[in-house]
Amino acid sequence: MAEEKHILWTSGISKSFAGVKVLDGVELNIIPGEVHALMGENGAGKSTLMKIIMGIYTKDSGQIYFEGKDCDFKSPKDALEAGISMIHQELSPIPEMTVSENVFLGREQKKVKGLPFVDKKELNKRTQILLEEYELTQYITPNMKMKDLNIAQIQMVEIIKAISYHSKVIIMDEPTSSLSEKETVILYRIIDTLKKNQVGIIYISHRMEEVFELADRVSVLRDGKFIGCETVANTSREILINMMVGRELGSGYPKNSAEVGEVLLEVKDFNRKGVFEDINLKVRSGEIVGMAGLVGAGRSEVMRALVGYDKLDSGKVFMQGKEIIIKHPKDAKQNHIIMAPEDRKEMGLLLCRSIKENVSIQNMDRISRASFVNKAKEKKICSDITKQMNTKMNSINDSVSSLSGGNQQKVVLSKCLLSEPKVLILDEPTRGIDVGAKAAIYDIMVKLTEQGIGIIMISSEMPELIGMSNRVVVMSGGHITGEIEGEEAASQQTILKLALGGKEK
């Protein structure tokens, strides 16, 4: 039975969805005060296991012991009350409610004990205290509406929320996937404090560096099976990758030997009141332009305006020297400017529709003639691209909502790659993607540049930016604050300085 020192202990957890086994006899144990990393490829079953612990899914078999007791939570409420909270991989804010209402949803302070009247002042006060404690006050105020927050702010709110339960175990399912360096540092600090308070943390991430920096032990899942548990000190990147993928994987970034050619895309004097100003940008063929900046710098906004999704106050776009008018994403597409958005739920996917339809919706011109869809062709193209992207699924007719987070991201990329881009805009393309798939995406990017495609990559992962880009453009507070080329780009410090420096202006 559960050892005394283990606060949370699972054994033999199995779970199937519609006949497909996604968890098969999984073991996991957590010691108070440790950071226990949980790793595995996309679709390995990490989130599913966590959702079973939280009482969101019911397990088919197996036991969960919490504080030595056999627990089988029927709903998240039970788990939260028992002392387990979770930061979910899929952010789910309630857009119309304020930060404080979101944080304390389900356990509002009452004006009078026993009566159901909410003390909003008290809610705000408590939220303010939390925000101050974690030095987030300049970012977020208790009264902000969730719908006005950007994705990083939302992620921080969810982190604060999970912590505010004062749970004994906190599950963090890819908490940094929507954060840039600056917030990540804040999260690390928070985790330190929690460790000191003997909280057990399950930390799911695809970022190797984080695991080695934070974790004490690491458990690995592969295809729903428990592979092993190691202390971080006794393991290495190679060993972990082998455990996850079952084979060796080349390390580092692929060599980009593409010729940088003439200017493909030129953005001139982009302005959108209150969001960004005087944006000038050039992308050459065969070039990868990295966009760095803190969250909220306005990188996504510029790109959204570029592809015609958002309105623009003023500015011009030139494609291979000719001015083009983009008023709607369709115009951008016709000029082969394609964007993969950062928030796949909000702008990327038709969650209730099939993988096939999601991939083909952006590529109707390729698979239809005279407005009629060629289903055989559609099927072939979709099968090919999903295979190429190594998407883990049962069939292309499955709804996207049944995919794991990382595999959903792959569907977004698939549809963009199919659209024959000349300029490809990738907004946080590797968010939530496992090492193997990341490598695949890097390879694809390189291959695309070799075909003369220009790529703009927005990323909050500094190593990735530095490793992949020919050139890094830094934005801060809606302005471009600098551009770093060649050798210079290798320095994180330079980038960070520009990203922060711009803000102080």
Binding site: M54, I56, S75, P76, K77, L80, E81, M86, H88, S92, P93, I94, P95, E96, M97, E101, L105, G106, R107, E108, K110, P116, F117, V118, K161, K311
Partner: protein, 315 residues
């Protein structure tokens, strides 16, 4: 701080309030009887029925649901009260039983939607049909005559010079605003409408809340059943036909999103005020009822449009 916020809200609601004001100003020039106490009392009395239904409907719509059964539930209460009053039962008891009957149907709605997982439209469509059938069978298609003076007081009496109907409307509106804006239940309603999954993950008993919301709408139907029966001194199986549309219209005009999560009772109140004023004004001006439909439709479009403009909603 709170003051500033309130002013903000008032400005946001300005669009509809402006429509209300506009109608009042225009009408006071067009008809001398418009701004008389008598007519104002009339308007208030006339909106009371739709008003109470619309308050209940607002709760339902805020969770992302819809309640088509309200008109039929009004009839259920109406015939039950009618028959019991004929049997000379104690008035108070009759009211309790009548409202309870509508609430039972409300519970069925809530159960089907939240626990069984029916789409609200289809669940309440079914209870709408069943409720109407029940009322018809119960009363054998014929109305009951209501003579009990203390019951009729609900529909035709006055409390401190204000018609009882209007007093009831005010009480229900106030209760509704308190529940929606100050209680945890109110928060949970917004949360469910905004993101049901997130609410559940935060430990909100979403099913229970959803169920309660339909129960609440049933309660409002029951109250309206009493109000209407007392007003027309009879228990009618055909009572309330088509009332669902008016109630939903008030909610929608008031700016509440049919997808849930966004909206306010303040908006709903302005919504049914506009509908009531419109109908009263057109009667006073003796507009042909065929043209009334056209005018009503156009004014609804204009009101909502103005509201959207002032809220800066559109892209």
């Amino acid at each position: 701080m709170t003051q500033k916020k309130d002013i903000g809200k008032i400005v946001r609601d300005f669009g509809l309030a402006a429509v209300v004001l506009l109608i009042i100003i225009v009408m006071s020039f067009l008809s001398e009887s418009f701004l008389t106490t008598n007519n104002i009392t009339n308007i208030l009395r006339q909106i009371s029925i739709n008003g109470v239904l619309a308050v209940g409907m607002t709760f339902v719509v805020l969770t992302g649901g819809i309640d088509l059964s309200v008109g039929s539930l009004v009839a259920v209460t109406s015939v039950i009260c009618g028959s019991l009053l004929e049997g000379e039962m104690n008035t108070f008891l009759v009211c309790i039983i009548g409202v309870a009957a509508a609430m039972a149907f409300g519970l069925l709605n809530g159960y089907l939607v939240s626990y069984v997982g029916f789409q609200p439209f289809i669940a309440t469509l079914a209870t709408m049909t069943i409720g109407r059938g029940f009322a018809m069978v119960y009363a054998d298609g014929k109305p009951y005559i209501i003579k009990d003076p203390s019951f009729i007081f609900i529909g035709q009496g006055k409390i401190a010079g204000i018609p009882t109907l209007v007093v009831i409307l005010l009480v229900i509106c106030m209760l509704g605003i308190i529940i929606l804006n100050t209680t945890t239940f109110g928060r949970y309603i917004f949360a469910i409408g905004g993101n049901k999954n997130a609410a559940r993950l935060s430990g909100v008993k979403t099913k229970k809340i959803e169920m309660l919301v339909y129960l609440l709408s049933g309660f409002c139907c029951g109250i309206v059943g009493l109000m209407l029966s007392a007003r027309i001194s009879s228990g009618q199986p055909t009572a309330g036909e088509g009332y669902e549309l008016d109630a939903i219209a008030a909610v929608a005009i008031g700016g509440t999103s049919m997808n849930g999560g966004i909206g306010s009772l303040r908006g709903t109140i302005l919504g049914f005020l506009i509908l009531g004023l419109l109908s009263n004004s057109m009667n006073l001006m003796n507009i042909d009822s065929f043209y009334q439909n056209i005018v009503k439709g156009i004014i609804i479009i204009l009101a909502v449009f103005l509201d959207m403009k002032t809220k800066g909603k559109q892209d």
